[in-house]
Amino acid sequence: MLIPLDRVAVNKKAKVMGVQGGWGIRNRLSQLGIHPGDVITIVRHAALGGPILIEVHGFQVALGRRIASRITVEEVE
C-alpha cells in the first residue's frame, strides 16, 4: 500500500516508490541519496508537526513534513 512518508511510524522501514514534485525537490532529494527503491528508516518525529528524522544509507536527514508528505513509500517488513 502506498502512503506518504510522514505517515510511517517511528522505527519502521519504508521503501521509496516515488517523489511528487518538480525538478527542485527531486534534485535535492536525489543528492541526499533518496531515490525510488531506497529503503528509509524513520528515526523520530519532531513535536508539533515539526520535521521527521530519517536514516538512509547510513546517515540521517531531517525532512520537513511538507516534503515528507510528497515522498510516497511502501512499508517494508
Binding site: W23, N27, R28, S30, Q31, A46, A47, G58, F59, A62
Partner: protein, 641 residues
Amino acid sequence: MKIALAGQPNCGKSTLFNLIAGYKAITSNFPGTTVKYTETKTHIYGYTCTCIDLPGTYSLSSMEPAELEARKHLLSGEVDVVINVADASLLCRSLELTIQLLELEIPMVLCLNMMDEARRKGIQVDTRKLSAILGIPVVEAIAITGKGIRELFVEVLKVWEGKKRGNVQKFSKDIEEVIHPLATLLAAEKGVEEKVSPRFLAIKLLEKDESFVGEINPGGDLYSQIQPFQKKLEEMHGRPSDEVISSERHALAMNLFEKVSTVIHPPKKDIRMAIDHWVMHNFFGYLILAAVFYGFFNFIFGIGGYIEEPLMGLFDHWIGQLENLFGQGSLSLFLSKGILQGIAGGIAIVLPYLVPFLIGLSILEDIGYLPRVAFLMDVFMHKIGLHGKAIIPLILGYGCSVPAVMATRILEFPQHRFIVSILTTMIPCAARITIIFALVAFLISPNAALAIFALNILVVAISGKILSIIYPEASLGLILEIPAYQLPPISNTLKKSWYRIREFIIIAWPLLIGGSALLALMEYWKIDLWINWFLSPLIQLLGLPVSVGTTLIFGLLRKELSMIMLTQALGTTQVLAAMTKTQVMVFTVFVTFYIPCLATLAALWKEIGKKGALLTIFFTFSVAIILALMTRIFWGFFFNG
C-alpha cells in the same frame, strides 16, 4: 599548479585545507560551513601551487549559491588537479559526486577521509580495487589528525605530472545510447569542447539542469535538437529524464560501493545514538536547548565579569594618574586619555567576554549541535515563514554578522536569503554581546541582560513574520543532513577561536583605539558638540544624555566603539554616575538593534543588493527607535531607575 578541494558538504575539505594552509578556513560540524572559496599558496615538493577550498556540494547540479560557487570553479578550466574529498563512512553517497567529477576529465585524486569513522561503522574499503576501477589514485586519510596527507600530495603531484585523467564511469547501455549521440552533437558545436567535456554537458542537459539549459537559445536549432533526446529517455523509462539519470548514477555508485567495500561488522552502537535520543527529544530536547544557552550565557558572564572588574579598576587608576602627569585641559591629556581608554576597552571590556564566547561557539559548532537546533527549531521557524536551516545563519550571527550574512548562501530560496540576511543583522553579534554584558549584566543585573536577549529573539521572530508576509516564498521546507557528533581535538577548537579573536585584535582593536583618540581630539576642539547638537532630537527622544550622540555615529564603524567611547563621552568610567539605569537600558537596546556596522552593510550589499542594504538600514533603525522608546517608558515605569 592549481589544486581544488571538492567534495560533499561536511566531508572535511576545510580541515584538510587547514593542514596545508595553517588555520585559514573555518571548520565546523555542519553541512555548508564553507560558503565561499578560500585560497592559499603553498609549496609541495618544490612546486608552488595554489590550493582552493571549495564549498561542499552534494552533486554538480545544484540550486544553492554556495554549491554553484564550487561548480563555477570546477568548470572554469583553470583547475589542474581536483582532490575529491569523500567521507569514507558515507562512501556510497560520496561516490555519486566522484562519478560526476570524473566526467569533467580533470586529473583527480580521491581522498577517503574520516577512515576512523568508517572503521567504526564496520566499513572496509579495498582502495586498490577502487583505484583500478576509477583510474585515479585513492588515498586513505584522517584529516583531523593529519594522517595520510603526505601520501595524498605525492599522488596529486603524480597525476599532475602525468596529466592522468580517470575512467569515466559508464551508465547502462540504453542510457549510453542516448548520451553518446547527444555528446557527439554537442562536440560539433563551436566552442563547447574547449570549455567543458561534451559528455558532461550532454548529461547535464538530460538532467534538465537550468544553468546549462539556460545557456542554450530556446529558439535555436540546438535547442530543438536536444529535446528529442530527453523525450527518448523519458519514453524508455516512463519517468522524467533527470530522475532517470540520477537513479542511474545512484545505482552505479551503489554497485561500485558493493564491489570495493565490505561491511565486516554492523555499525557499533555508540553513545552518540543515546545522546541524540535526548538531545532531539520532543520535550527534553527543548529543555536541553534552553539549558545549553542559559549555561552558555552564565559561562560568558561568569568569566567576563570576573575579569572585567579588577582590570577596569586598574585602568581607571592609570587614567586618573594621567591627569597629574599632563595637567588639566591639555591636548596631550586628551589624546593620551583617549588612547588609553581605547586600549582599556579592548583588554578590560571586550576580550573578557569575547574570548569565552568565541570558544563556546566553536565548541557548539564543532561537536555538531547546530544541525540539531535546526531540527528542533524547524517548527517554530515555519511559524515565521522560514524553515529550520535558517537557524544556522542566525546562530552564527551571535558571532559576527558578516559571516552570518554570507552563511545565508546555504538557503535554497532567494527570498529566504533576503529575509534571513536582514534578520541576522538584528542578532546581537559578539561586539554587541560584550556591550550587553559589560553595560547591562555588569551594571544592572544578569537578568536584565537575559531580558534583552529574550526581547531580541522575540523581535527577530516578529520581524521575520513581517518580512515573510511582504516577501512571500512557497518554500519546500527543511532538507538537512544531520551529521554524527564529532569530538575534534581541542586544539582545533582553540585554533578556530584564535582565528576569530585575532580578527578582533588586529582589525577592530586598532580601530577602537583610533576612534577613541579621534573622539578625544574632537572633544578637545569641541567638534563633538556639533555632532551631538545635530543628533540631539533623536537622543532627547530617547531620554539619553546629549553627549552620547557621537558614540552612536562611531558605533557604525564598529559596534564596540559605542560602548568604549561612552565612558569617554560621559567623562567618567563610572557610567552609573552619569546615567540612570533606565538610560543604560535604553542605550543598550538602541545600540543592539540600530543600523548594522559598515562591514555588515558591505556584506549585505554584496549578498542582497543595494536595495536590501538600504531597507535594512531603514528597518533596523525604525525597530531600534520603537524598542528604545518602549524601554524608556516601561523600564522607567516599573523599575523607577
